[in-house]
């Protein structure tokens, strides 16, 4: 309804200004549509904001009203009993519980009427606000009125608001990570966490045994992450880079038009699909072929996870590198060719050095993607925190351990739960550093061939 009204007011504003211009025969300041927009924005924005605030706060207000009502009716109930009764009333209101007593009926009716009053109140208030803002705006419309810059300001402000949401959310997440991590380090020494060689958080479940030394040593799981990521990069960097070079420098447009989208389809496959591909196809294959040459692979191995993860990030590297290589100016290719270099010499000596910053940042981006990957590792590499560099053994990764830590019931402030935050924070720091590094590299070399 509000939307409809604002539509109407848009056209009303347009007509109004047309008529005034016609009557007063002065050239208008802003175009008709700005006057229309000015009116409709003034109509809709205040009441939308009001509604949002109301919806956010009214349940709390009604709740406390209900609470005090219960308290007054049954003065001998304890606080806990009041809360229980309150949730009973709300459930009964929603129709989940039957209304089984007179008091209950009274309370439900009270709750019901409070809600109705609140809704009606909201409608009236927002209508009043809308109308008054609308009249205010209507009153200000003149032929020489600067509606254009007013509308522009409103739009600018709403964009600032939108970007603030993203920034504030990020800051909030980081802050909560930091706070919980600090809590964790109050229980476990930071040196034990960073340099401990044993990871077995399960023991900390029992209150009397909170974290013996080394139990939260993060080294094994970070080694696991590094091992898997390294294997993945060994697969993805050469394949991704070579296919990017082929696509951008050698392939005919027709082949490129088919091959590039196909490569990018790889990026669209959900990681859980990669995960069971790794666990059900690649890992057994590796174990069998390993057995045939006398190597003993465990059925969950870092190798299987790394291989599949490598395949997963190939499109990331190839697609980004391809864009970067394409951005190298054609004039450099021609200059090199005119000197009599072969195509591969041009690629090696001119194109790759010029595209290097972009390629490096593509690789770093892929790296942080690989570090953050969870599903493949859970399914293919296992959850046992072995301290090993042997790719044939089962290892685990940081992300996997976070999942493991948070599954199941435990107190929120137990060391086990907090450890998840500490791991997440460490991981965040690592990927943040990688991102900063890639931005730095790109910025340092960006203008090289411009």
């Amino acid at each position: 309804m509000l939307l409809g009204l604002s539509f109407v007011s848009y056209f009303y504003g347009k007509r109004l200004i047309r008529r005034r211009v016609y009557e007063q025969k002065i050239s208008q300041h802003s175009r008709d549509s700005y006057h229309g927009l000015y009116l409709s924005l003034y109509l809709i924005i205040p009441s939308v904001i009001l509604t949002l605030i109301w919806l956010a706060s009214s349940p709390n207000i009604i709740d406390s009203l209900l609470k005090s009502k219960i308290k007054n009716s049954f003065p001998d109930l304890s606080l806990g009993e009041i809360n229980i009764l309150k949730s009973k009333v709300i459930s009964a209101y929603d129709g989940i519980l039957p209304v089984d007593s007179e008091q209950m009926e009274m309370l439900v009716n009270f709750y019901n009427s409070a809600n109705i009053i609140s809704t009606n109140f909201l409608i009236i208030i927002s209508a009043l606000v809308s109308v008054s803002f609308f009249l205010f705006a209507l009153n200000r419309i003149r032929v020489r009125f600067n509606a254009r810059s007013k509308v522009e300001n409103i739009l600018k402000f709403s964009m600032i608001l939108a970007s603030c949401v993203a920034i504030i959310t990020t800051i909030g997440i980081v802050l909560s990570l930091i706070i919980e991590t600090i809590e964790f380090f109050k229980i476990i020494k930071i040196t034990d966490f960073l340099f401990g060689l044993q990871w077995s958080p399960q023991i900390a479940l029992r209150e009397d045994q909170v974290a013996g030394e080394g139990l939260f040593g993060a080294i094994p799981i970070f080694i696991g992450t590094i091992l898997i990521t390294l294997i993945a990069m060994f697969i993805a960097v050469p394949i991704g880079l070579l296919s990017a070079i082929y696509l951008s420098e050698y392939s005919k447009p027709k082949i490129r038009a088919i091959a590039k989208p196909m490569l990018e389809v790889l990026a669209g496959i959900p990681t859980v699909v990669y995960g069971f591909f790794a666990a059900l196809t690649v890992a057994p294959l590796l174990r069998n072929s390993g057995a045939s040459v006398g190597l003993s692979l465990s059925s969950e191995s870092a190798l299987a996870a790394g291989l599949v993860m490598g395949i997963m990030i190939i499109p990331l590297i190839s697609s980004l590198s391809d864009d970067v290589i394409n951005a190298v100016p054609q004039s450099l290719r021609e200059g090199s060719a005119a000197l009599g270099s072969t195509q591969s010499e041009t690629v090696k000596l001119v194109i790759l050095p010029a595209a290097l910053p972009g390629i490096v940042s593509a690789i770093l981006l892929a790296l942080s993607r690989a570090i953050g990957e969870t599903m493949i590792v859970v399914m293919a590499a296992g959850v046992a925190a072995n301290l090993t560099f042997n790719p044939f053994e089962s290892v685990t990764a940081v992300t996997v351990q976070i999942v493991v830590l948070l599954i199941g019931d435990q107190e929120f402030d137990s060391a086990k739960t907090l450890a998840a935050f500490a791991l997440g924070f460490t991981l965040f720091i690592i990927t943040l550093l990688l991102n900063v590094l890639s931005i730095y590299i790109v910025r340092k070399y960006r203008e090289q061939y411009d």
Partner: protein
């Protein structure tokens, strides 16, 4: 137009006969017949889109790099057909230097820019040899005095005119015998242009130079022969002074007197 080339063979450095170029279905050049003398400057003039750049790019087969571009006809350089299948394109381009419209130094040091060609062709026997080639090329391109103390600086740190001379040095470092110049001064100011023109005058003692230019004064100042192109056809080709003082074709006259183009 008289066809002097067919009478006495071997006299011309470059002879093209019936060269046609198509971009996809669009014909860019129609039956170009042109003879270019050794160690002379030949200028190609004409309005934009007339095919003079396309023609110059035929001479070192740069059009191969363009998707959908087809070159027909015979182009003989030193009596060898460069479009035949046994022509080694790498060897061909090593013999024919090219300078482009926009200076395009590699994002490398000044030294590495000049040394690029000699390195890939293995011209230098030793490091001192390479140093020598770089120095000689930079001197010949008139850039040595300005950069001798900063050979490690990026080629892109130079001014536009210096970059273009760096590109000339890069081209002559491979020791070509033909230099193709595709509007080498169009991105430069008059002072840098004067420096490059002076350089071209010196270079023609050693190299056969084909230059595409938009400036008729430049063609008049620099070249021995001038060809006028219009809409993919060569309208007139003659000794430069004839073209500018006594053009035989009315379109040439219209162009040089500023009525078209």
């Amino acid at each position: 137009m008289k066809d002097v080339g067919s009478m006495i063979p071997n006299q011309y450095k470059i002879t093209t006969s019936n060269v046609n170029v198509d971009y996809g279905s669009k014909r860019a050049l129609h039956d170009i017949n042109l003879q270019i003398e050794e160690k002379e400057v030949t200028a190609l003039i004409g309005p934009s889109g007339c095919g003079k750049s396309t023609f110059i790019r035929c001479l070192n087969r740069m059009n191969d790099l363009i998707e959908g571009c087809k070159v027909e006809g015979k182009i003989m350089i030193d009596d060898v057909d460069i479009n035949s299948s046994d022509t080694d394109i790498v060897e061909l381009r090593a013999r024919i230097g090219m300078v482009f419209q926009k200076p395009n130094p590699f994002p490398k040091s000044i030294y590495d820019n000049v040394a690029y060609g000699p390195r890939i062709h293995g011209i230098a026997k030793s490091n001192e040899d390479l140093d020598n080639i770089v120095m000689k090329s930079l001197k010949r391109a008139g850039l040595w005095n300005e950069v001798e103390d900063r050979l490690d600086a990026s080629g892109l740190s130079l001014s536009g005119g210096q970059q273009q001379r760096l590109c000339i040095a890069r081209a002559i470092a491979v020791n070509p015998d033909i230099l193709l110049m595709d509007e080498p001064c169009s991105a430069l100011d008059p002072i840098a242009t004067a420096v490059i023109e002076e350089l071209i005058n010196e270079l023609k003692e050693r190299y056969t130079i084909v230059i595409v230019t938009h400036s008729m004064q430049q063609a008049a100042r620099l070249s021995e022969k001038t060809a006028y192109f219009h809409l993919g056809k060569m309208i007139e080709y003659d000794v430069t002074s004839n073209i500018f003082t006594n053009p035989k074709h009315e379109m040439t006259e219209a162009y040089i007197s500023g009525r078209i183009g």
